[in-house]
């Protein structure tokens, strides 16, 4: 494998990640698509870019088992990056921790914990999540009752349960923290 081929295969996943972010940002800023749709557009642009450029490199420089391995590595990098990007974006958009920081930041002299609790209202957070789950089609509402519509998130939840069992933590594995006032 030539140095140029090798270097190209190293740089491609970085460029495809940039393509994913660009696709997502452009879709979101166009104002014509919703948050989830923009994310899907971003993922698709990244994945298509990854497959197209890697295949182009393979066709141009020729097939070898090493090249195939590195192209597979690039596909794995791209898929995992999409997942990481979605999680990070979830943190930026709807993390309760960020909401708490946002609330405290409004008061330079500090703020009462009760006020923060009121601002980060549990019911409101729940309603917001339910609305998002129904909108994205993961849940459906029929005669006031909720049902699972798409099972993808359920598989993720089961994966986490399995993982907890694997590490020997059936409940929350975090160490007990100091009591709140």
């Amino acid at each position: 494998m030539t140095n140029a081929y090798s270097l190209t295969l190293l740089v491609l996943p970085v460029l495809c990640n940039l393509c994913m972010v660009a696709g997502h940002v452009l879709a979101l800023r166009s104002g014509n698509v919703q948050y989830v749709q923009a994310l899907v557009i971003g993922f698709l642009s990244g994945l298509i870019c990854c497959l197209a450029t890697n295949c182009a490199a393979l066709l141009y420089w020729g097939y070898s088992s090493e090249a195939l391995g590195r192209i597979l590595a690039n596909v794995i990098i791209m898929i995992v990056s999409c997942g990481c990007y979605a999680i990070l974006l979830g943190v930026v958009v709807s993390s309760i921790r960020i909401r708490i920081l946002d609330t405290i930041a409004r008061f330079h002299e500090g703020v009462d914990v009760k006020w923060v609790q009121q601002e980060c209202n549990v019911n409101k957070a729940m309603e917001m999540r339910l609305a998002r789950l129904i909108y994205s089609g993961h849940l459906r509402k029929e005669e006031d009752r909720l049902y699972v519509n798409r099972r993808q998130l359920l598989y993720i939840a089961s994966f986490f349960m399995f993982f907890r069992a694997l590490v020997g933590q059936s409940t929350s594995p975090v160490k007990p923290r100091g009591k709140s006032t």
Binding site: L10, Y35, I76, V80, L101, V113, L133, G178
Partner: protein, 164 residues
């Protein structure tokens, strides 16, 4: 296939090491430790690359694959550390099967203790905020995180009504 195998196997080795440590001393490993643990684990990837006599470009590719897998694991770990409210809702609705669930029945799933107070404790522990009696104040670390989050929100063109 060397890059793929070395990257995947080093991630598996570090993952097994983490699970073993976690099983020996449950709950002692916080996110910052995990990040450091995975960064140090890149030496495993480098060592495997050395054993396989890789070129420096192939070695960089192996470490890139390993780091992306590590980053994925660290982010997934957040979901293990504290169950996501969204996933908890989904699990409970699924458990009801064809009976379905009334939205008000889901309210009992969350308390302020699990949803807000625990997170405030975490922010105090990580020095993002300080707690003086009942008064909470933002620390420079929290301010800097918030600045970055606001920059990303502006960059993405997300307004507050969309954020909710």
């Amino acid at each position: 296939m060397d890059v793929l195998l070395a990257g995947l196997s080093s991630a598996v080795v570090v993952f097994i090491a983490h699970v073993a440590l976690w099983r020996m001393r449950p709950g002692k490993f916080q996110t910052s430790f995990l990040i450091l643990f995975f960064l140090m684990g890149s030496t495993v990837a480098a060592f495997l690359g050395y054993l396989l006599s890789m070129s420096w470009i192939a070695l960089a590719h192996t470490i890139l694959l390993y780091l992306v897998l590590g980053a994925g694991y660290v982010l997934v770990y957040q979901g293990i550390e504290e169950e996501s409210p969204t996933l908890k809702i989904i699990r409970n609705v699924a458990a009801a099967r064809e009976r379905g669930v009334l939205p008000r029945d889901l309210l009992g799933l969350f308390s302020e203790e699990t949803l807000v107070l625990k997170r405030i404790d975490y922010l105090v522990e990580t020095k993002m905020i300080t707690r003086n009696g009942v008064i909470l104040k933002l620390m420079p670390a929290g301010e800097s995180l918030l600045k970055r989050v606001r920059f990303i929100r502006r960059f993405l063109g997300l307004n507050h009504s969309e954020i909710g």
